[in-house]
């Protein structure tokens, strides 16, 4: 699992590559902290290369969303696959994020 974080014109782009399962979630916890620091701005979670996500991954996404809500930022989830979309649906996450 790899997270590529780039910042462009006050927009933070986090690209998730691989499977975001329980161990992977622990691995990228620091990256997520970095992301959350930019919660006042716009955060784009690019899921084009994310093949799998479990509840621990969802929790990371939720913590980002909570941080943004706190700091008045905005979180956009981009390019999710159908499988992940169905997980989002099952968990009500489709309502929590702006999906692009």
């Amino acid at each position: 699992m790899e997270v590529k974080i780039t910042k462009n014109n006050n927009v933070l782009n986090a690209e998730f590559i691989g499977r975001l399962d329980t161990p992977a979630s622990l691995e990228i916890a620091k990256d997520i902290e970095l992301v959350k620091k930019e919660a006042s701005g716009t955060i784009v979670l690019d899921c084009a290369e994310l093949s799998y996500i479990s509840s621990s991954g969802l929790r990371l996404f939720l913590s980002i969303r909570k941080a943004a809500a706190e700091k008045g930022g905005k979180v956009i989830v981009k390019s999710i696959s159908n499988d992940i979309r169905s997980v989002f649906m099952m968990t009500g996450f489709l309502n929590l994020f702006e999906i692009q």
Binding site: P23, L26, S55, K66, D83, T91, L96
Partner: protein
């Protein structure tokens, strides 16, 4: 086999010959030993006889010479006085008397004047002799009847001018007495031959002497005079006074005796083997000096060798008897051994061949029961109860592509050939049925194979069936075999067209029929060993008894064992003449879907959760799941497992999580088992997914996902273990 018997016979015949030869050799050696011993003994006996004879001859001669010496000296010592009496003839009678008187050996004596020496007495010979009363009697020998001047005793000494022993003669004057006379010439003082002085001796003592020679019981001792007359003989009735020529006729080999005669006559000593009348014997002879006599001892062979010969004969007879006994014993031993050996060998060989054939036969047929333990739709049991001798019954069954292929057959005939045909048939069935699905085609194939290789005119009755276990459709084809029984609501014979048995003719067509088996229907196949089992009264077990025995609800194995028991009690003590083979196929409906198992065990470590993806991939591949479904399964599994890994065990303690999956036809059942703290995730309240981000709780998502993805989730606590079972329906 026949060839092997012949060679066995040859070998045993040869060993018998070797035995006989050895015995002959042993006999020959034994005989040779006896003969050598015998010959040595003969030689020793020869030497002993010769030495005994010679000793005896010497001793006897010495005794004779002693007597002769006495007589000669008695006469010679009186020579001078006889000379003197010539001057005084009247005293001559006194001189003679004195000689007889003083010499006990002298029987009689005379002084006989040469005729014409004295003018007054032209013939003068007073003879003084010892009469029977031991008194001296004088007679005059100067008689015309006697004519002394022509007597040997008178003529010879004068002629030879020396002392002379006369031929023995029988004196008839004073009783029958063998006498001999020693006479010497007497010259007067002028040196002129004047008279002869004699001393007679009786040879009675000689006779006694000879009679006492008994070196061998039947030995004879003879004295021969100078002219070859027998004087005395130990064997009195023999030869007395006979000339040697007279006994010559009794001698078989005259040449032999002539040598003796010649030797004796010429005063030699020696030894000769002769045959006299019926007696074969040895003659030892020696001269008696001065008298011109000769003496011989005849010893019959029987006396010398008799004991030895008898011993030898006895030994030989004993040996012969021993050998005969030995031969008889050895012969009977060899015979019984050969007989036993060939019998034993043949028996053993036969037994082992039958055993091997039987083993092969038994090894070929499937006989591990339950035949298909994993199947609930089929209960099959089959068995061969072999007769004493191996037979040609066979059965076989196997499942291919959800179809049960089965057969029962009976090879005509018995024994090893039948067993071999059975083995061939059974392996051909396996080979053919591995790729041919219709019973009639299977039979055609088998038939062609068997007919081609079968030049022993054996045939096989054969029933072949193929049961589709999915729908119960049974196809079958019968090649001359007893039709099986079908057990539905009733028990009846399964209708089947009887084709010819296998192996009769090539390129036969076999008909095929179908019947549908429903749940709980059964098929019972058998060989004629069942229906034709006979009791002592030659009654057969028969179909009705079979039908009766098939009633009742039993397992296949119980059915067969029950029938076998009934047959056994029916047959009783009658020997089982044929193999008895039975097969019971109980069809129990549609088979359950196949279930495959997968398992994974991980430790309570977060990193190991990554292994779940691979586990799900395996399942997905096996069940051909699409990616979305496998991803969903992965997610549900991960949520359930992560829950255990993170929370079931106390922090920093080791624990394991077992993950099992049962891959059914239309569902997948996954179970997660741990030995951690009791925890029922299903009892947790479901997460409220309608809340806003601000209100949403971090936890509770996992079990929510599990519930959403899986069709059922169940928690159990068994034996101190948390077991979470979840199922997902799948469709192909």
């Amino acid at each position: 086999m026949k060839h092997k018997e012949d060679s066995d016979k040859k070998i045993s015949r040869r060993s018998a010959w070797v035995g006989v030869l050895m015995l002959i050799l042993a006999a020959a050696m034994l005989e040779a030993t006896t003969l050598i011993q015998f010959l040595f003994a003969q030689r020793a006996l020869d030497e002993e006889a010769s030495s005994r004879a010679e000793t005896q001859l010497d001793a006897t001669r010495n005794k004779i010479m002693d007597m002769i010496d006495q007589a000669e000296s008695a006469v010679r010592n009186s020579e001078w006085i006889a000379q003197w009496t010539l001057t005084c003839l009247d005293s001559s009678e006194r001189v003679c008397s004195r000689i007889v008187e003083t010499n006990p050996v002298i029987y009689g004596s005379t002084i006989a004047l040469i005729p014409g020496y004295s003018r007054e007495r032209p013939l003068f010979s007073p003879y003084v002799y010892r009469s029977q009363a031991d008194t001296l009697t004088t007679v005059s020998l100067a008689t015309t009847e006697y004519d002394y001047p022509n007597q040997e005793w008178f003529v010879k000494p004068l002629e030879l001018n020396q002392g002379y022993w006369s031929e023995p003669y029988v004196d008839t004057g004073g009783g029958e007495m063998l006498m001999t006379t020693y006479s010497i010439p007497i010259v007067d003082y002028t040196g002129k031959k004047a008279a002869v002085l004699t001393g007679d001796i009786s040879l009675d003592w000689l006779s006694d002497l000879v009679s006492n020679i008994n070196i061998y019981p039947n030995a004879n001792t003879l004295m021969l005079s100078r002219t070859g007359r027998f004087m005395v003989s130990r064997n009195k009735e023999m030869l007395k006074g006979l000339s040697i020529e007279e006994v010559m006729a009794g001698i078989r080999d005259q040449e032999d005796f002539k040598k003796v005669e010649k030797g004796m006559n010429s005063g030699e000593s020696g030894h000769q083997r002769i045959t006299f009348r019926d007696i074969v014997g040895h003659v030892y002879y020696a001269p008696v000096e001065r008298t011109g006599w000769s003496m011989c001892i005849i010893i019959p062979d029987d006396d010398i060798y008799g004991a030895n010969r008898r011993t030898k004969n006895m030994v030989q007879i004993m040996q012969l008897l021993g050998l005969i006994l030995l031969i008889a014993i050895v012969r009977s031993l060899i015979r019984s051994q050969n007989k036993n050996r060939t019998l034993n060998e043949r028996k053993k060989r036969m037994e082992s061949e039958l055993h091997i054939a039987s083993d092969i036969q038994m090894a070929m047929i499937p006989k591990a029961y339950p035949a298909f333990p994993e199947r609930k739709d089929l209960d099959l049991y089959a068995a061969i109860y072999p007769a004493k001798e191996v037979g040609g019954d066979l059965y076989d069954f196997f499942i291919r592509d959800e179809k049960l292929y089965f057969c029962v057959g009976d090879v005509s005939g018995k024994g090893v050939p039948a067993a071999l045909i059975m083995a061939v048939t059974r392996s051909a069935f396996r080979t053919v049925a591995a790729h041919v699905s219709s019973p009639s085609s299977i039979l055609s194939n088998l038939n062609n194979g068997l007919a081609e290789m079968n030049d022993t005119d054996m045939f096989v009755t054969f029933f072949c069936g193929v049961l589709d276990l999915v729908n119960g459709n049974l196809s079958y084809s019968n090649a001359g075999h007893n039709p099986p029984m079908i057990l539905t609501d009733a028990i009846r014979i399964l209708e089947s067209e009887p084709n010819l048995p296998l192996g009769v003719m090539k390129d036969m067509e076999f008909t095929e029929q179908q019947v549908r088996l429903n749940y709980d229907d059964a098929l019972f196949l058998y060989t004629d060993g069942l229906t034709e089992a006979e009791n002592i009264n030659h009654e057969q077990f028969g179909l009705e008894r079979v039908k009766a025995a098939l009633h009742g609800h039993k397992s296949s194995e119980e059915h067969l064992k029950n029938i076998q028991k009934k047959v056994k009690s029916f047959v009783g003590d009658a020997p089982q003449s044929d193999d008895l083979t039975m097969m019971f196929i109980h069809f129990l409906g549609k088979p359950e879907p196949q279930v495959e198992k997968c398992q994974l065990i991980i430790h309570n470590k977060v990193e190991e959760i990554a292994q779940l993806a691979e586990f799900i991939d395996q399942i997905a591949e096996k069940k051909n799941l699409d990616l979305s479904l496998s991803t969903a399964l992965n997610l549900a599994l991960e949520e359930a497992v992560a829950n255990v890994v993170l929370y079931a065990y106390p922090k920093d303690s080791d624990g394991i999580v077992e993950i099992g999956a049962l891959l059914g036809e239309d569902n997948i059942e996954i179970s997660i088992t741990d030995s951690g703290t009791p925890f029922d995730p299903t009892a947790m309240p479901d997460a409220d997914i309608t809340l806003s981000a601000e209100d949403r709780k971090i936890g509770g998502l996992g079990i929510h996902l599990v519930r959403n993805i899986m069709d059922s989730v169940k928690y159990e606590r068994i034996d101190g273990k948390n077991i979470l079972t979840m199922t997902k329906k799948i469709s192909e």
